[in-house]
Symmetry: C2
Subunit: 245 residues, 2 copies
Amino acid sequence: METAPVVDLETLRRNCANCSLRQLCLPAGIVASDVERLDRVVKRRKPVARGEHLFRVGSGAARIYVAREGSFKTVACSADGEQQVIGFHLPGELIGLDALGHGQHRCDAIALENARVCEVPLEELHHVAAQVPGLQRQLLRVIGRSMGRDQDHLEMMSRRQANDRVMLFLHSLSQRFETLGQDGSAFALPMTREDIGSYLGLVIETVSRSFTKLQDDGVIAVRGRQVRLLQQRQIADAVHGHALH
Amino acid sequence: METAPVVDLETLRRNCANCSLRQLCLPAGIVASDVERLDRVVKRRKPVARGEHLFRVGSGAARIYVAREGSFKTVACSADGEQQVIGFHLPGELIGLDALGHGQHRCDAIALENARVCEVPLEELHHVAAQVPGLQRQLLRVIGRSMGRDQDHLEMMSRRQANDRVMLFLHSLSQRFETLGQDGSAFALPMTREDIGSYLGLVIETVSRSFTKLQDDGVIAVRGRQVRLLQQRQIADAVHGHALH
DNA sequence: CGGGAAATTGAGTACGTTCAACGTTAGTGG
DNA sequence: CCACTAACGTTGAACGTACTCAATTTCCCG
């Protein structure tokens, strides 16, 4: 138990109105009084440790989550136990939308680092959204952005050359870090090479070789999980299909 | 121009309450009086001819569409003009969600056959959804199903073997036809081999060879676009990862 | 019936996978 | 604080599958 003043500070620091992700999250574009109503249905969950599951395949979809600190991966499991990483979720990005369709999660969500999430009960969100017109729109916008990232993923998978896939991947991450107000040209990968390989449909060795190749070509600098994009122009060109050969 | 009685029949046949797709579409689970309110904002569009665009990259996202008769493909265009089929849309399935995120369509939508769509202005849908709680939920369910199909697509792309991709593709189509109340074990592909190849990340020759191989193995029977699934068990096994070797 | 697109088939090549060995990093306990 | 260990990552050589290029056949629509 804590004394009253401390609780207040904690509350203040933690609610939507004061969240650094506010612009990216559900409250964006909603007037202060309505943010308060939204805030009341958002549960702050205790931290999720690295490697811990946020939810699992088959569990009900009573809530959606927003990564608040730390990033997550979602992993689809075939019946035979083969796994595939289908998404990475940086702070401000929604997790758990996969269950909207049939009420059951189709994938596992696992924390890539020690993380923290906001938890939004769907039923209560519906109630608030019905009363706050802007929230409904914003919910669809956020869902739409999530679908856009899925489409980006698909575009990566459709590239024939492993190098192109990796460049697209780095470009996508770069943009998302910049959206978070961080440096998009130098960042730490929160995931392993194995995760990247699974996400891109490549084996780990190929990912490793691609990183090495891109470094040799002077396009990026890699050291472990630390990455710097040296020739953003070249990467952007590859993204737009003007291949380098 | 038509005489009054004919118009009435047309109207009756065309509105949501009498649509054969009702169970799959936005009205599902909404009481009759509310269906009427939804119905009032749904515009029936004049038929879309085979090969015609429903919308194009960059156009605003004022509306979403539901395929009513005939199917569609959505095609993403890289800046260099390279195209990739990112989705097929059978009757009852939503088209145009790709613009929810940023208000602009990221792909072209093209009719694969002479088709007909329902057109739903987003702004008006928001209004009705705010008043009809069930509609909001149903909209999210339909969106969720659409995301589920995207995830299925991704799972196809992640398969290493071309045969597996094609089998997953046929399985997915089969299920969707059955949802429509049609025969899931024998159907006509609405799209070309080229479309299939683009969708699966394979060249057209590989798609052709896979069809031939699957036919030689007795798994399917193909003749042009007419397909029959002979060993659904084997296909289901492949889908679940128990490869055939 | 003719023309053009769609689909099939064949041979050679390129790229990523597989299998295997080695290096490196980070987290743990003595 | 350092040694130890296991997970993570890199590099190399041989192989296999899908791609490329090219020729031919089938199908569909006017």
